[in-house]
Subunit: 323 residues, 2 copies
Amino acid sequence: MDKKIIGIDLGGTTIKFAILTTDGVVQQKWSIETNILEDGKHIVPSIIESIRHRIDLYNMKKEDFVGIGMGTPGSVDIEKGTVVGAYNLNWTTVQPVKEQIESALGIPFALDNDANVAALGERWKGAGENNPDVIFITLGTGVGGGIVAAGKLLHGVAGCAGEVGHVTVDPNGFDCTCGKRGCLETVSSATGVVRVARHLSEEFAGDSELKQAIDDGQDVSSKDVFEFAEKGDHFALMVVDRVCFYLGLATGNLGNTLNPDSVVIGGGVSAAGEFLRSRVEKYFQEFTFPQVRNSTKIKLAELGNEAGVIGAASLALQFSKEK
Amino acid sequence: MDKKIIGIDLGGTTIKFAILTTDGVVQQKWSIETNILEDGKHIVPSIIESIRHRIDLYNMKKEDFVGIGMGTPGSVDIEKGTVVGAYNLNWTTVQPVKEQIESALGIPFALDNDANVAALGERWKGAGENNPDVIFITLGTGVGGGIVAAGKLLHGVAGCAGEVGHVTVDPNGFDCTCGKRGCLETVSSATGVVRVARHLSEEFAGDSELKQAIDDGQDVSSKDVFEFAEKGDHFALMVVDRVCFYLGLATGNLGNTLNPDSVVIGGGVSAAGEFLRSRVEKYFQEFTFPQVRNSTKIKLAELGNEAGVIGAASLALQFSKEK
């Protein structure tokens, strides 16, 4: 039998698992709830138990697996295989995840942060088409990302490579939770889009359902902004244009710096699809020099929820090759 | 005898050569004039002849060498080892440099563009301290650069990775020769510094020798701007501050994206030394999030003119290891 890989996507609500072939085809998948009680001390044991159960169920044994990969929130020490500061898991102290899982299951284990792992997934089996140079940006509650360059996932000297949410797109912009200002995250995360709408609504005088909803104190979401824009609301279109200007500037400078085959946009905000992509691309082209404009593409993510488990499998596969 | 490497730095005026140990110690160096006559057709033959002559002079033979590396102006096809569009060499058609040199000398040959090669040099034996993650920026007539990430020199999908001179630092900025606007090069190359001075002089009303020189139509250089600033000229200090603001924004975003161990600044404008570096660092800190601010350093280049031949040797060494 060909060897298999286990990919795990650890989140604050659910833990997703998959068994994949070494070609990245998902053969089995399942998930369990994340039990974050008692400082998240049940999380790793429940992962171990769930994998044991499934291995038995499928009549497999540890020798059948190349390895296990996992994406996690928080700060990861990829050498040691530990996590710290994953607040949505209640993990505030250092968690020796790799040691616990390897000693319990006897299968090699590799760990990285969830945005990097999603980048590996989109690069391997998604929009990145397994190209050696792919950048992934996820527009969700925050803005994260991961960079694969010359075939390698980048980490940098302190593990911050790929943190594109904190690229400065406006030196005089909004304050960010990171302590500086004008970060991409402040204007293109789900809350960032609403922030831009609230800010611009103060100046907009015309007729707009979106502006009216904001002025009425309704609970407007990023999704609402895009829906109003798609229906032709002038003010909503203005907001989307401003958001895409910032995304085009940031992705343009990623292109000018790294010239990847593609910059892949995922996360909840990217549900706006081609309506978003085409507008980001317009500004990307404005902010890139000709050779980059003609070679680097702006794409939408393709894997959705599966990017995590597929990327985790990719991580395990790379880890097994490096050994 | 331990094997040696030959490094070549091909420029429009001179061709520099060095013989180095595999530890990067320069043992011999020499140079010849670049003969760009007749479409630069004498360049490669003169390189071959010069190396043959030196190999004989030192009683060495081709087996004594790991390889030859070269940095060149123009667009390089690193796979094929060809160069095109090196206008200061009069090379307007594709030059099969690798093929010519390897068939004449029988020593493996590797080629890359001069900014990438200088980056390899500064990373290996200069300010980069052989760290796997180093970015090099050269502030000269133009602004170029090279990126080493996870130990690899990056090229991107069309060879444009590291072209940091065309990062957009001001969406409403000056027109650039590349066809877009607001590029770092327009405000921090030697001519860019003077451009910023001329632009700001229109608004400055106070007492300044620099402004007077500009208003008198004198031929002011980037060096003059920094010299006036170091003497305390208020207007010159304002110009330097603006230039360093842009450099801090660009290097800050390189830090936020790639989190290298260091961003190394070289080229003619960097002759301003610590006066420049400390001011770039101030803005770098303003434009980076805490983990990057505390881990990525802004440094001055250390190798000067030797970066080219040392980096070329590094290229040859990497090339020999990949085979």
